[in-house]
Symmetry: C2
Subunit: 129 residues, 2 copies
DNA sequence: ATTCTTGCAAACTATTTGCAGAACA
DNA sequence: TGTTCTGCAAATAGTTTGCAAGAAT
């Protein structure tokens, strides 16, 4: 059987940040926030914690245009995000029709084991004003 | 008025590769192919050429999960891709319904200047067998 | 006591940039 | 001829990893 990860101060601190945050944040941002709060955690430990969480599907990971990986605590199950490109605030969205459409397109072209990525970006109301 | 880029052997070589290729390729892959063909071009030149082409919207760029940027010569206009995760072969797809759906979702949440990314991945028929 | 985790520094990967010399217009 | 382009090497940015010391079970 698989061992559960140990319950360390560092791991708890990273999870706490993710719970506080509204939107996506990079590993480096999380590391900075921890430093500011005085709950310093090594950068590599932040990376490792996020990897573990992502593997366990407890956080979602996506890559921005700069090649940074952004993490966010998310509800379970397959869904997509509407992300504010200015403040990073995110809204979880579902789109059954999109899922069906993607599967159909893939099937029509003879593709198997289909997966897809979909993110919507925009400027949210409070950032636009 | 904007100057056109100069017509150099290197630039032509990169474009030629993109025309030959079926699917997406990374800058490094393109660099390797050029080396194998004996038409060696410096890696930085490959990167610079691809940047210019991408800025001119003559190629599409997308990032894979490993953080590499992949390039492909594409038809103009907004569209998406169905990509084989094994051989890289791609099919351009359109989805008016998806575009509309994305815009609607964003609007409902008060987001402006909406853009979206959508890629479908799978294993194509010939790679599955 | 044993095993997992941390933190630092060094390693890696993909990409970008400074600069001197070469190539185009 | 005057600029732009190229290629090399060095610099960056984000992320990963080796290893000795520290913490959790």
């Amino acid at each position: 059987m698989v061992e559960a990860p140990r319950n360390t101060r560092q791991r708890r601190a990273v999870v706490a940040i993710l719970e506080d945050l509204d939107g996506f944040a990079s590993a480096q941002e999380i590391h900075d926030i921890l430093k500011k709060r005085g709950e310093s955690v090594g950068l590599s430990t932040v990376y490792r914690s996020l990897q573990v969480l992502a593997d366990a599907a407890e956080v979602d990971a996506l890559r921005n245009d700069d090649g940074e990986v952004l993490y966010r605590q998310c509800s379970a199950g397959h869904h997509h995000h509407l992300v504010c490109r200015s403040c990073g605030r995110t809204v979880e969205i579902e789109g059954p029709s999109v899922e069906r459409w993607a599967d159909k397109i893939a099937d029509e072209n003879g593709f198997r084991d289909v997966a897809h990525t979909l993110e919507i970006f925009g400027t949210c109301a409070s950032c636009a004003s």
